[in-house]
Homo-oligomer: 317 residues x 2
């Protein structure tokens, strides 16, 4: 039985009643938004679904979970204000591993001047982490804020994290994939970049599920059409090399690979700086009247289906 994430969200939207006028935006964005600028987001990570303990040290598992969750805070243009962790602890987990896991979470929090401020621990068959992060913002950016005429931008390189994951998985020469592996092991959320860009950003999402899926969320929530220019997509040399080594389709790979945790946003400014706080910034498309996500390549335009990561579809395979 495979639920898609979209199906599940539709189900919840039907079942769950809104009662608190303090909550401006609930289910359907990167985080819930309260009237006073409080934002709250929850993310869960499970062994063998979201990470493979044989390739990642406990400290990396902890740090990645924090980074992934804080990325949703970045996607609201907010500053982190605390992380809460429910740990599902498997039988046989050693005290040293537990310590390293929390040291990894603390180290990731320290980069953003925040902290693990609470949580719970329960026994479970496999290692899991359910995180809730709080943030504060005066300039919230929603997925629904794109307007026809906007330009589409993305930070960093597309599919770089997935490049690193596959390089590790297939035992490729790590020195040639160093930057990609780093992005996979510790995908630093673009907190500072999003705060810096806040005035220029209309709609914003983080690229956790792959470009086609994430752009689809912006298009759906904003009720607009997004047209992506294939030739403009920022693709790292490491990714081109991996595609050759593994004989994959570059286009498919770049549109579908998730967990980059970059900022994907629209802005009315056609020209933003090429770098923001040292991070690459690339204009990759336009927002138009209409619906859906389109890819323009070599003069042709075709509609994209969301082919990125769907937590439930993949998880249930």
């Amino acid at each position: 039985m495979a639920f898609s994430e979209a199906q599940a969200i539709r189900l919840f939207t039907r079942i769950l009643r809104r009662r608190n006028p303090e909550i401006v935006r609930a289910i359907g964005d990167d985080a819930a938004l309260y009237r006073d600028g409080l934002v709250v987001t929850s993310d869960a990570y499970f062994e063998d679904v979201h990470f493979d303990r044989s390739h990642l040290e406990p400290s990396a598992v902890g740090a990645r979970a924090v980074c992934g969750t804080l990325s949703d805070i970045a996607a609201m243009c907010a500053r982190p204000a605390g992380v809460f962790v429910s740990l599902m602890m498997p039988p046989g987990m050693k005290p040293a591993e537990l310590r390293e896991l929390y040291q990894g979470m603390d180290a990731a929090c320290s980069l953003y001047d925040t902290e693990v401020a609470g949580g719970d621990i329960v026994a479970a068959p496999k290692l899991g982490l359910a995180l809730t992060a709080l943030g504060r913002t005066r300039t919230p950016s929603l997925r629904s804020d794109a307007r026809p005429g906007d330009y589409l931008f993305v930070t960093g390189d597309l599919a770089l994290a997935e490049t690193g994951r596959l390089a590790l998985k297939y035992g490729l020469d790590a020195r040639r994939y160093r930057r990609a592996i780093e992005r996979h092991v510790l995908p630093l959320p673009r907190i500072k970049e999003s705060l810096k860009l806040a005035r220029d950003i209309h709609a914003l999402i983080d690229t956790s599920d792959g470009l086609s899926t994430d752009a689809g969320h912006l298009a759906t929530e904003s009720r607009v059409r997004i047209v992506i220019d294939y030739s403009a997509l920022p693709i790292a040399d490491e990714t081109r090399r991996l595609i050759q080594e593994l004989r994959l389709s570059l286009e498919q790979f770049v549109l579908s690979s998730g967990e980059d945790y970059e900022l994907l946003f629209t802005s009315s400014s056609p020209d933003l700086p090429k770098r923001i706080l040292g991070t690459r910034l690339t204009r990759i498309g336009r927002v138009e009247n209409g619906r859906g996500v389109y890819l323009r390549r070599e003069g042709r335009s075709r509609r994209l289906k969301p082919t990125g990561y769907d937590h439930l579809a993949l998880g249930n395979v």
Copy 2:
């Protein structure tokens, strides 16, 4: 490898650094407390550790999880301000079960004028729910606020929920255990009672882990001695009947049974009303100089060890 909860908290207190001066109280209380009165608590519930799907409908699983988590909000004298749910969805879970689970959560939220305002869904080997609840308070009560000379009070009946759980488990006559089964299936948190009592309460905790353990938390965090008067303990007829039917030790059962989600608190007032918003209120002991929890029974006093529920010790058996 069995960690006790206390060991785990000690470990985290050593590893996790405090960075945000906005956070007045982090790990070690029922919830984290922010300077502006925001409280945040996380709780996780796992199939076969915290509940048995063969005895509980999906809607009851959802409602209980919400009630258990909101009880930590009650334990801070706060008003609920939103619930965030990470669902661990097992293979083979039917759409109808998923719907009922969320309907149960929504129904429980509705009793406290709050809502499920966000969350995540991931595939997992067994059903699990990791909840984070937010609350707001102007009169926070911490575990560390007990003072020598205070009196100890508890709402409701001790061990009533466990009475209900065992009555179900052993297939006893449900009509004779109706109230106990209700308390097990839907342990309504004492949100309204705690707000009503706010001015009289010093230290406060909810009885989730059993009286000896929960009183121990108050004594440890407040650096006081708590002396419990055995003859004063509120014990329901259903519990006395169960003890006879199953030939258990009443004292042990009442001191160790968790998940009642009643309020256990200290107050300088010796005389509080016998009922608060219809809920029984009983004075069961005193706070003294010293350390530890003592039980006074038939003129004798002996030190109690925490014999209640320890999530990890039990979970790893």
